[in-house]
């Protein structure tokens, strides 16, 4: 109003401009009141809001808008009059709705007359809610007639949303109806319940038989039980077999469903084989190829808050045991409360949740995620509609809502007192916009792009409302006018595709378009139902970046005919007609898979041994330990123990499982070699092993280090073991080593003093009852008679850190073996051997990279004659993502002065440090916290200094500045230069590392994953094995594990090379699983 001060900085106009209703004419509001019944206390989805459907209902070329209001009669249809002006034609159209509670909406040409019809879902059949789903058939004159009964789509139950698509490829649109549950979430049943039909809550699949929709749910293999808390639905060809698959997002403890289309009218729910975890409270979702690799990926929305003060007052301090008991023990798959970005690793075979590393996992109470290219740069961006009227999971509300009021409410028959609801804090938050980048990372642009104001947005769509080649956004809001967001970005080349399909599917639902342009490929499949309770236009939109044309556009129709358009001009709306399609599209011919680098040979090797992890939970013993340290095996050792010229190997056993020795047979197979001495020591957990000829008799003896983070110091099981090989294949335990009964983590062997006898370095691990103290490591020198004595070593080696890995190799080519160690809360450290003395080589660049290093391997990766260091760290796909500027800190103080160190991990945000864990977790061990901060809101958003003050000052915190895995290249003279692995190998902690040579290519093999963490941190499971080729510039190129032939599952702990009669093989040791074997696919 002319009051703007001239001092103000010019504010860049946001990419999206929210248009006022006075301009658009869209006054729709989804009104929800706290004071009505049903309310949030009797209907759990009372605040879920309504949906939006966008589509051109009168075929005038402009997309029109339909909004659902939850309350009866509130739905609205707006005709697009051009230039962002809309006319409310609800009354004339006869479409306001007569059901008591409306939910999702989708447009589709159900009767196939060339006009979009509208299908509105309803919740009915409980709480006196009446009505049924409505099918509004378009009369071509701006009016609609409700004809659901006639079509067989008048389902009455707890519907969320429908999708119309042709699942059996008979040319006609069928219907998947997603329903929601009202099953009590107070009692966790098991997955057996999936088999019990629930007529109101179970989802439905309908087959279109000549215009009538027949329920084929059961026959088609679709679950229809009360466990289906269905809030999200996406359909697309996830496995590239030409048939549409279904992904269902389920709220609460039921995991999401991945239905693979069997091509015969049935589906098989196959999530457990292809997904390692899901969002816990899955809401809306979207399926799209976000990284332009030709594979459909999935984003699922959850409700993890992003802001510290909200996050730390949000419920969810489940213990490791509680989580296991509620979720996995009952048969449910792992699931964590955060958005999941499930990257399709290839043909739907394996999905990796990269939401953490890609930066989209925490967007608070989220509903509609939509992947689309809003800035037309050729890379999809991400919109997430957000907000909840009231935060039911606020911990202060859960535990401290005034007792008198609760009592009053529970005892009164007149319903719920709004006073009780008033205590539930409001949850309006801004919606999120992330810009997609080439490296698969998303950048939060919410503010810059115009999503600044807190709101309550549920259903949402993108659509080019004014046909200017830029996607606009529309949201359905609770108690606020619908949001119409005009895209004002600079005009950038685009391509908009419409389709004319065959007679029964005129809009071409299910058609795929591959756009090749500027050296990259974009891929989309036409499916209208997206996000949450909403549906988009029957058009595909591609940004072309700086390119004025697409080199080619490949169209594949649902019946697998195709057409290839060349040199397609940018900036046009192109209509593609199926009549011009020809032939039969063969995916494998068009996108041929390269020959795999590796080939699995596990089934040719007859080893029945399986690692058996013992059931021990470190968190029960040390609740605040950063993660478990008891499940880090098995590691292996390789040597020719019987002098037959063939490698044999030893693999460590977990606690109460003996280690095992396998002798290679002449034909390249392996035979177990029973060793009573190993069995006798099975109570010890072997954490690392190495073969060495301790007594110089020419036969390798075996040293096994013991640990496991379970037993008290000085327990006899913690002593290491030296087994002497008698040359006839018998190993006997020797007493010639000192008996050090502490946790260890690593062992390495070399002739340190050049006396001809191998010496031993043993890396120390934290005390099982006293995490935090830097453990002691040892050097054991061979006295020349096979007897080992511990010798004094410099302090900087003795207390090098909480080690995880140690290796010897001659790094400086002086003929003396040097030592490299790595571990957690420390950098990789190099000790050069100066004529028998191990002297630490200080390297600022290396020292900066303190991390949570798990494994090192020494090899000349670049072939320059110098040994490099392969180093496996914790990876970037974590809630913890330290940087050199803001390292992770570990405070080790006895906060409550009870004689026990209370480890507190803190992370930095804008140079302020906050505890990683919440009040609930910390106060379990430190009740002092409760004494100081009774309410969660007193604790939330406070820095560690504010929380603990002077109690922290007794120790300097330990630091971790980088979680990136990579290679320290040896530049000579003791200098190393770090080069990080590509993002594909940063998806999880890496525990197994080795090198390979394939033809002319050299490369690195890696594997990892880790599950010994609190549910709040979430298991690391995104790695499926890494094959990285290293070129002359030391650049690394990764191959998708699905295509490399090195597709691993589970928690990899070691990768070892074994020379066999038939050539080199790679043995992969996996926690709690059998060993797998691979060889090069020559």
């Amino acid at each position: 109003m002319g009051l703007l001060s001239c001092k103000q900085q010019p504010v860049l106009p946001p990419l999206f401009e929210q248009l006022p209703s006075a301009q658009t004419g869209v006054h729709f509001i989804n009104r929800i009141s706290d004071n009505e019944r049903p309310g949030i206390l009797d209907y759990l989805y009372y605040y879920n809001g309504g949906g939006v459907a966008v589509g051109d209902i009168n075929n005038d070329g402009l997309p029109d808008l339909f909004f659902t209001a939850n309350q009866k009669g509130g739905n609205k249809l707006y005709l697009n009059k051009g230039n962002y002006h809309f006319e409310d034609i609800t009354q004339k159209a006869g479409i306001a709705g007569t059901t008591d509670w409306s939910t999702g909406v989708t447009m589709a040409d159900v009767n196939n007359d060339g006009y979009l019809d509208i299908y509105v879902c309803a919740v009915a059949g409980k709480l006196n809610l009446k009505g049924h789903n409505m099918l509004y058939i378009n009369n071509h004159d701006g009016t609609f007639t409700e004809r659901s009964a006639e079509y067989g789509l008048d389902f009455s139950g707890y519907s969320t949303q429908a999708v119309f698509f042709d699942y059996n490829h008979d040319g006609k649109l069928d219907c998947f109806l997603l329903n929601q549950s009202d099953h009590s979430v107070a009692v966790y049943g098991d997955t057996v319940m999936r088999k019990t039909e629930n007529k109101l809550a179970g989802s439905k699949l309908y087959l279109n038989q000549n215009g009538h929709f027949t329920d084929v749910t059961k026959k088609a293999g679709i679950y229809n039980s009360a466990l289906g808390y269905g809030l999200g639905i996406a359909v697309g060809d996830l496995n590239n077999d030409g048939w549409e698959d279904i992904y269902v997002g389920n709220d609460f403890h039921e995991n999401d469903y991945y239905y693979i289309n069997n091509h015969d009218g049935t589906f098989t729910e196959s999530g457990a084989k292809h997904f390692n975890h899901y969002s816990r409270f899955s809401m809306g979702n979207d399926m799209a190829d976000f990284n332009n690799d030709g594979q459909l990926d999935i984003i699922t929305a959850d409700m993890l808050p992003a802001e510290e003060d909200v996050l730390k007052s949000y419920g969810g301090d489940e213990s490791y045991d509680q989580y296991k008991f509620k979720i996995t023990r009952n048969g449910f798959q792992n699931q964590y409360s955060r958005n999941a970005l499930q990257k399709n690793m290839g043909n739907g075979e394996a999905f990796s949740d990269v939401g953490l590393m890609d930066g989209v996992y925490a967007t608070d109470w989220s509903w509609s995620p939509l992947l689309a290219d809003f800035d037309n740069d050729g890379i999809k961006d991400l919109f997430i509609a957000n907000g909840i009227k009231r935060r039911a999971l606020d911990m202060d509300y859960v535990t401290f809502v005034s007792n008198d009021q609760v009592q009053g409410m529970l005892n009164s028959n007149r319903g719920y007192d709004s006073v009780v609801l008033d205590k539930m804090p409001p949850g309006a938050v801004h919606s999120y916009l992330f810009k997609g980048n080439l490296n698969e990372k998303f950048t939060d642009k919410s503010k810059e792009w115009g999503m600044r104001d807190p709101g309550l947005a549920n259903g949402a769509v993108y659509a080019d409302l004014n046909n200017d080649g830029r996607l606009d956004l529309v949201t359905n809001n609770v108690n606020h006018e619908a949001g119409i967001y005009k895209n004002t970005s600079a005009k950038t080349p685009y391509l908009s595709l419409k389709f004319t399909g065959h007679q029964d599917n005129g809009f071409g639902i299910g058609v795929k378009a591959y756009v090749f342009c500027g050296g990259q490929m974009q891929y989309e499949q036409l499916m209208l139902t997206r996000g949450f309770q909403s549906s988009v236009e029957p058009r595909l939109h591609f940004g072309l970046g700086k390119n004025q044309k697409a080199d080619s556009v490949l169209i594949v129709w649902p019946n697998q005919t195709g057409q290839l358009l060349k040199n397609v001009k940018a900036n046009q709306q192109l209509t593609i007609d199926q009549h011009n399609a020809i032939g039969k599209f063969d995916y494998n011919r068009f996108f041929p898979s390269p020959k795999t680098v590796f080939k699995e040979i596990t089934n040719t090797i007859y080893i029945s041994w399986k690692h058996r992890e013992n059931d021990f939970v470190d968190f029960n013993q040390q609740p605040l330990i950063p993660h478990m340290l008891s499940a880090e095996g098995p590691r292996m050792a390789v040597a020719d123990v019987n002098h037959d010229g063939l490698d044999d190997f030893y693999i460590c056993g977990a606690r109460n499982q003996p280690g095992a020795l396998f002798i290679q047979t002449a034909n390249g197979d392996f035979k177990a070699s029973p060793q009573p001495a190993f069995v006798a020591d099975s109570a010890s957990e072997g954490v690392d092993a190495v073969f060495l000829d301790a007594n110089h008799d020419g036969f390798p003896d075996l040293y096994v280090a013991s640990g496991g983070n379970e037993l008290r110091n000085h327990s006899p099981e913690l002593a290491d073991r030296l087994y002497m090989n008698d040359g006839k294949g018998n190993f006997k335990r020797s007493a010639n080593i000192p008996s050090i009964k502490l946790n260890k983590s690593a062992v390495a062997v070399a002739d340190v003093n050049h006396d001809g006898y191998p010496d031993i370095f043993v890396g120390g691990a934290p005390d099982s009852f006293g995490f935090g103290k830097i453990p002691e490591s040892y050097l054991l020198m061979n006295d020349g008679h096979g007897v080992y004595h511990q010798v004094a070593i410099p302090e900087e080696l003795k207390h090098a850190g909480m080690l995880r890995s140690a290796e010897f190799a001659d790094l400086d080519n002086d003929g003396w073996p040097d030592l490299v160690v790595a571990g957690e809360w420390m950098p990789v450290k190099v000790y050069l051997n100066k004529k028998g003395e191990l002297i630490q080589q200080q390297q600022p660049a290396m020292n900066n990279l303190s991390g949570w290093w798990q494994k090192i391997a020494l090899a000349d990766v670049d072939g320059d004659g110098k040994i490099d260091i392969l180093a496996g760290n914790y990876g970037n796909n974590s809630k913890l993502r330290p940087t050199v500027e803001e390292p992770l800190k570990l405070y080790l103080s006895d906060l409550d002065k009870n004689g026990t160190v209370d480890p507190i991990i803190a992370y930095g945000i804008n140079q302020k440090y906050y505890t990683f864990l919440g009040k609930g977790e910390i106060e379990r061990q430190v009740p002092l916290i409760k004494k100081k901060f009774l309410y969660f809101h007193d604790f939330a958003g406070k820095t560690v200094e504010q929380l603990f003050g002077d109690s922290l000052n007794d120790h300097k915190p330990l630091m971790a500045a980088s979680f990136q895995s990579g290679i320290f290249y040896n530049k000579g003279k003791g200098h190393f230069e770090f080069k990080a692995f590509p993002a594909s190998a940063q998806m999880a902690p890496l525990f197994g590392l080795n090198t390979f040579v394939a033809g002319h290519g050299k490369g690195v093999l890696a594997g990892g994953n880790f599950s010994g963490v609190l549910p709040y941190e979430g298991k690391y499971d995104a790695d499926y094995g890494d094959v990285l080729f290293v070129d002359g510039n030391r650049d690394m190129e990764s191959i998708s594990p699905v295509l490399s032939g090195f597709l691993l599952r589970g928690e990899i702990r070691d990768i070892k090379i074994i020379k066999t009669a038939k050539g080199i093989i790679y043995a992969v040791a996996i926690n709690n699983k059998p060993i797998r074997f691979f060889k090069l696919n020559n």
Partner: protein, 440 residues
Amino acid sequence: MKPLLIFMVAALLFTSCKKSDYKTILHDPALYSRTVHELNRVVMGNNFTPVVASRNYAYATVAGYEVIAAGSPKQYRSLVGQLNGLQTAAKPPADQTIDYEYAALLAFCKVGEAVTFPEGSLKYYTDSLHNVAVQHGMPADEVHNSEAYAKAVVASIMAWSKKDNYLKTRSAPKFAINDVPGRWVPTPPLYGEAVEPHWGEIRTMVMHNAHEYSVPEPPLFNVTDKNSKYYHEVMYIKGAGDSLTHDQAHMADFWDDNPGKLNVAGHVQFISKKFSPPGHWLSIVGIGAKQVKADFNQTVYAYAKTAIALFDAFIESWTAKYTYNTARPETVINKYIDADWRPHLQTPPFPEYTCGHCTISAAAAEALTSALGDNVAYTDTSELEFGIKSRSYKSFRDAANENVWARFYGGIHFHNSCIVSNKYGKVVGDSVVVKLVMKK
């Protein structure tokens, strides 16, 4: 907070009178009971578990008692040398005038809030006590002396409390869940971690140690042999739950005493609270004291004796719980008999055998009978503020005996457990009665 409000309003009304009537107000035994009730509400508001609550009450009431024992040495004997580890307590300076009732109230509040509470939770209350003392004519030096003495006793009791292993057990290993049939696992809807698995390591007050009175083994888990004792127990409680009468349900609700019942409606969860079992019994002490017209000192004495019995009884029961780690009825019935069966009460998060409430009720009844007399008929109005009708009893032991059935009808404890627990609770209570010399 209604009682406090009334109290403060009363204080304000009297403010202008400037009469020297502070004794009328501060020496009223009902004021001590109201003060205990105030602590009870703070304990409840701050979500302490029943076991931890018993510790709050025990130290606070002992502090109050030590003050009146020092003030009336002819009537009451100090607990120094009688309770494990209590070697000394501050003595009142010989030449000073002290209002022992006022000091007892203060000592009770200060220890009460210092044991585990958010700092200053009862400051508003002690401040108003101070104001009452000043405004109602207590001489300034007497106010000062009384407060100084209370402070000294508080320091003695706190020093003693710090050596009871409470802090050390905060870092003790958690209860590990595994799949052994019949072993305790978390229960719906909270699925909470097992509460205080190391409470048996807390120093007892009167018992020599936690194992002094070891309970017999519970029936062996067996759901396959329909003639087994275990199976009978399971079917007995299931049958009872399936056919609860109105009075049985009322009985169960009356003794529910769940300080943190979780209500779940989808994403909405909230905890509703009642006084915990020890809180309920402290409330009964107040009712009983009023019933027998006990004076201030006897009231303080009754609270202390009962709270000591409650404290030791919890340790006794918790030791058994984490020796046997038995599953709750609902777990066993859901898994082997009826997946949909729900107990009438929400199952609290710790092992089933023995029954904590039955144990502590029996122990409290013995202590209370000794302090206030047998066959004291009373109506227990404690649960009115939680919307539950009162019940009447012929004696304190009568109430404890009813509790045995209440936990069974509540569907959370097998019948055998309740019987055994009542018996051993009596033993613990009796040991307090026999070993402690308090009233001379």
